[in-house]
């Protein structure tokens, strides 16, 4: 438990990032109860502008809930989520959606839509009632399609896409929102390894601040600048992948044995079977 204890800065389990003021999107000491259960118990998360923060932790540790609080689609029971210092409810739903984009684990619709239609949804927070699509909207959609390599598939039906392609379209939709921060909730679940790598490569190449919940420790080590580990709704470790991904932490948080190799800040995790010797 010693690794964990040193990572926790105070009694609320808070882990802080940049202390500078006006630091875009951040959560301070957020608590969230759902149906009587405390899902998040005093977590602070303040991504530095432009960095990719990985959220790790077992199922039910509060990763998704923290992302929903950051997106403002759920309110905290205690603590606050702020954008440039203003609490999200004061910023307003539309204004938040112009700055913060969300990609969920999976997206389903029965609506018959083309790739361009789906990406165009990203313009909704920028559009006004009674106003047709503007040249700005069209430009943002075109740019998003190009950046995600989907320009030649704009007319294709959403329902004909594979899971990996759908996630790519959702990232394009998020880009069309022209956000400063991108929140991704286990976006590579259900994807082939090729699509997993493609998608994360794409996500970290974008000029935005990214917070991404991940299951796969090696993918997290490969693509994230900083990791925050949640357990039972508390942040129990925070730092570079090299600092965070230690055999002791993996054992404490996930309850499995692993060896960690690799140099510096891009460690490689290998899980051990019951009979495997520890190194």
């Amino acid at each position: 438990m010693s690794d964990i204890a040193t990572a926790v800065e105070d009694g609320t389990g808070a882990v802080s990032g940049s202390p500078s003021q006006g630091g875009h999107l951040r959560a301070d000491g957020v608590v969230r109860r759902i149906g009587g259960r405390v899902v998040l118990d005093g977590v602070t998360l303040a991504p530095h502008p432009g960095e990719t923060v990985g959220l790790l932790g077992p199922n039910g540790s509060g990763k998704s809930t923290l992302l929903r609080l950051l997106a403002g689609v759920l309110g905290p029971t205690a603590g606050r989520v702020t954008f440039d210092g203003d609490p999200l409810p004061r910023v307003g739903r539309r204004a938040v959606a112009r700055r913060v984009a969300v990609v969920q684990q999976e997206s389903h619709t029965q609506t018959e839509m083309s790739v361009r239609d789906v990406v165009g949804l990203g313009r909704i927070p920028h559009r006004r009632a009674w106003t047709p699509v503007t040249p700005d909207d069209r430009r943002a959609v075109d740019t998003a399609l190009e950046r995600t390599g989907l320009a030649d598939r704009a007319g294709q039906s959403w329902h004909t896409l594979s899971g990996g392609e759908r996630q790519r379209v959702q990232i394009a939709r998020a880009l069309a929102q022209e956000p400063g921060e991108l929140l991704l909730d286990e976006p590579t679940n259900h994807l082939d390894i090729q699509y997993q790598l493609d998608l994360l490569e794409l996500a970290v190449s974008l000029p935005v601040t990214t917070v991404i919940a991940l299951h796969d420790l090696n993918l997290a080590a490969m693509y994230c600048d900083r990791l925050v580990v949640l357990r039972d709704g508390r942040a129990v470790a925070e730092g570079t992948p090299g600092q965070v991904l230690t055999p002791a932490l993996i054992r404490d948080v996930y309850g499995v044995r692993a060896e960690v190799t690799g140099e510096g800040d891009r460690p490689v995790v290998r899980f051990l079977r019951r009979g495997d010797p520890e190194i």
């Binding site: 929903r68 997106a71 403002g72 689609v73 739903r93 539309r94 204004a95 938040v96 959606a97 112009r98 913060v100 984009a101 969300v102 969920q104 997206s107 389903h108 619709t109 029965q110 609506t111 018959e112 839509m113 083309s114 239609d117 789906v118 165009g120 949804l121 990203g122 909704i124 927070p125 559009r127 009632a129 009674w130 047709p132 007319g155 039906s157 329902h159 929102q177």
Partner: protein, 338 residues
């Protein structure tokens, strides 16, 4: 998929609607031509002389025209409400009656007819309207207390529908003679006979307001394509949007059902048919669906009142006879999706 240009579709639809109205008012026992109808309209607007005799004039303007126009308003309104409901509830089988509005209206109307509360057509419409609002209110309260998600709204609507259908049957059983039962049945299936200009004006006014509300929310409706949470993350205030749109469509549906009964299938099928022409984005879908619904019901009503002349078929029967095969086609089309 190539799509027709929505502006052209809309313009073509409006022209088709004007032609349909002017042709269908000439269909019937009294022989009148469309040209005479246009000339008579001109005369009413102060241009030229009316070629119609006073009796013909009465038939066109007091009987057939309000009836044709209410069919158009009703078709437009039901198609609009159906399209909004399907998107908002994310359910391709949703229609304007899914929140129990028509069942509540039936109970209200039947109570007026059978129990003799009040007298005459106005109080029947009033009773239906009150019943519709009661049912809608019950659905909203129930779904709200169950957490307010869309599937709770649908389930609450199912509960209300069952309850009010049972109340309607019970009331009819309890006290109706054969003649009133037939009158009740005719009303339940929908009928455009016995409508006057007051109904037309009222329903058209409600349609105009609700259409404006829906057109102001087209991007909001688009945002619901991937669910409520996705809509929220696109900046939609979900609870408020849901309340405004459900209330607006329920009011329009209540006004229509109170005037002409529950005309089925228009609100279920026509939005699907329209999507095949316009795509699913609501700025294109909603106005085109309304115009297609209007043209459709104008012709269905003409069929209903002339096919077995002098016997009239309830318009709901005709829409269902057309609607059931179309409904099955939609089910086949949506096979394998989701």
């Amino acid at each position: 998929m190539s799509r027709a240009r929505p502006a052209l579709l809309l313009a073509g639809g409006l022209v088709a609607l004007a032609l349909s109205v002017s042709v269908t008012v000439t269909v019937g026992p009294a022989a009148i031509t469309p040209a005479e109808v246009w000339a008579s309209l001109g005369a009413r607007l102060g241009i030229g002389e009316s070629p119609l005799t006073p009796i013909q004039d009465g038939i066109v303007w007091d009987l057939r025209m309000p009836r044709t126009l209410i069919a158009a308003v009703c078709g437009a309104g039901l198609a609009l409400c159906g399209a909004v409901m399907q998107s908002l509830l994310r359910n391709p089988l949703a229609d304007p009656f899914v929140l129990g509005v028509s069942s509540g209206a039936s109970t209200g109307a039947v109570a007026v007819i059978v129990l003799g509360w009040g007298a005459g057509v106005v109080s029947l419409s009033a009773g239906a309207f009150v019943g519709a609002l009661l049912s809608f209110g019950m659905v909203m309260l129930l779904s709200h207390s169950l957490g307010g998600s869309m599937d709770r709204v649908v389930l609450s609507g199912v509960a209300a529908m069952q309850l009010f259908s049972a109340l309607t049957s019970f009331t009819v059983l309890l006290s109706a003679d054969a003649e009133t039962t037939q009158g009740v049945l005719f009303w339940l299936l929908g009928s455009f006979s016995n409508v006057g200009w007051a109904d037309v004006v009222l329903c058209a006014a409600v349609l105009a307001v609700v259409m404006a509300v829906c057109l102001a929310h087209t991007t909001t409706l688009d945002a619901f394509a991937f669910g409520e949470e996705a809509a929220a993350s696109l900046g939609v205030r979900v609870a408020r949007a849901r309340l405004v749109l459900l209330t607006a469509t329920a009011l329009l549906t209540a006004a229509l059902v109170s005037s002409v009964g529950a005309v089925g299938f228009v609100g279920l099928i026509l939005p699907h048919a329209t999507r095949m022409l316009t795509g699913a984005m609501h700025a294109r879908l909603l106005p085109v669906a309304a115009v297609i619904g209007a043209v459709f019901l104008v012709w269905v009503d003409t069929l209903a009142r002339t096919a077995l002349d002098p016997q009239e078929i309830p318009v709901g029967v005709v829409t269902s006879l057309v609607g059931v095969p179309a409904f099955i086609a939609v089910l086949y089309r949506s096979r394998g999706k989701s």
